[in-house]
Symmetry: C2
Subunit: 331 residues, 2 copies
Amino acid sequence: MATIKDIANKLGVSISTVSKGLHGASDISEDMRQQVLDTAISLGYIVKKRKSSEKHKVCIMVENMDYANINQFGYELITGFRLMAQEQQYQVDVIPMDVYTQTMQSYDDYMKQNSYSGAFFLGFEMTDTYLTQLTHTSIPTVLFDNYVINKHVAYLGTDNNLGAKALIEHLYENGHRKIALLNGSQNSYISNLRFNVLLKEIKNHGLDVPDELIGNGITFQPKTISSCIPQFVNAGATAVVCASDLIAAAAINEIHRLGLRVPDDISVTGFDDLPIAKYLAPPLTTIRQERFTLGKSAFTLLSQLISGTPVSTVLYHSELIIRESVAKINK
Amino acid sequence: MATIKDIANKLGVSISTVSKGLHGASDISEDMRQQVLDTAISLGYIVKKRKSSEKHKVCIMVENMDYANINQFGYELITGFRLMAQEQQYQVDVIPMDVYTQTMQSYDDYMKQNSYSGAFFLGFEMTDTYLTQLTHTSIPTVLFDNYVINKHVAYLGTDNNLGAKALIEHLYENGHRKIALLNGSQNSYISNLRFNVLLKEIKNHGLDVPDELIGNGITFQPKTISSCIPQFVNAGATAVVCASDLIAAAAINEIHRLGLRVPDDISVTGFDDLPIAKYLAPPLTTIRQERFTLGKSAFTLLSQLISGTPVSTVLYHSELIIRESVAKINK
């Protein structure tokens, strides 16, 4: 437990100045008063008091993820979260988080200064500063598609096994033997997990995935995808399994640009089942994630952590949605 | 969808006999009527109707696990489950399941004939017949400490990472460098998982675990444990990490029988934090599983599966409970 002396030492001021700052005396500057209060909060000397009429506040921190409209991945997650939070009279702030803010102020300080009881993290990569700080936080935090060992932190996501198994079976039954993988960012916990599950399922069918059939670290830059697709085609790939619907959409464009047809010349599959998936040409065979259910569950989980129940992990099954982007091969 | 003809074929009787059986005609025997109904249910032709006044029924199937009193592992799991089920007006039957029943009747048939909406599995091993049948069931089923890829089946358990990390850190900080592992049954999903997590944490500290410090496939037969303990002692082990409190209790007895002291000569740790753990001599340092919370969560999960929400996995954090069975080594 921090003392007034700790605050004084940290700020390099006298104990009486700290006392004045804490008690709102008029003979110190507003700037100094604010510094004293901020330091008192960051050292854990005081926790900001909440007026009883004030709503509990939680936040959704978003990094590397779009959520503005229903076609974007984060939209339903946030809508589900808000819905559940509203029922429980919680205020929800959605905060686009950037590298700069994460460098300037620690996660704990940020949360305390803004009186947030907890946070839901969307889209963070393993290298993000706030994610690395979570091993030592005591602030209830729910991570989407990320895992950290800490009893105040829970991992919410999709169990990819069912969808991946069904997808690879579907490709295999349709005659595909050379399956290429277009993976997401290698800094993403879930991309790596998903890649390994897909690879395992392919190998379970006695198939090999040589290096030339693997495209790693794909971001949404068309340049990266445009170098992978010709490589896959040259290696004889009959299907490209993509780590997201957006990567699949870009892959289809690239295949068309090369003068090839989907799925007649090469099949393509996605992941997520965004609303856009069924409107692509051809409509995309993909693996569905229950984003709305996941969003609702995120708030439930955060409430559990806030009330001291040490939930670690909640996963929902994924499901294969068969549309028209996979062809039957007759060889 | 099965037809009346399918039922007739299966039983080797005429279609009119089946029809009479289904409609309760008086000119066939009670025995035949029962056979017709049973076959109709097992083929999915009819699902047993429930009177509206009748409660929904679920069951807890227990195999290889004691639950009769609060000192036994299953007790709080079942109590928590019952508590939640009662609130929702569900009837709960606890069924000690044996190998014979599993061989005589399939899981789906058993559940349908007894009008159970779903089941909670406790203590099953990976080789148990009913567990192997779960890949294809459509009956909502929650497994404790077991995982099956099926959208109607969920895995509930403890995330061992936090507890295992804290335990190995605790041993390391107390000077232990030769840590032996007394593992559970190799047919147990969770024993294997837990063993691998502990092994990883030990290796994270730069320590090796040679074969002579590993006791595998430990059941509760004193004979197996009594062969491992002298082997660990001869290999210079300073601590024995056990896969359960009951294994730890047996290990302590065995160490005492050899004329050695716990923890002065050798430290021992458990897993579970059963009520008995704190009454052992010495009181046992162990990893706590939240059995009551897990039991309550089991019913919540089962309700979700029954209502069609495809939950896959729910895990709770484990916690290290430090008592007196680990000594500080001054070397």
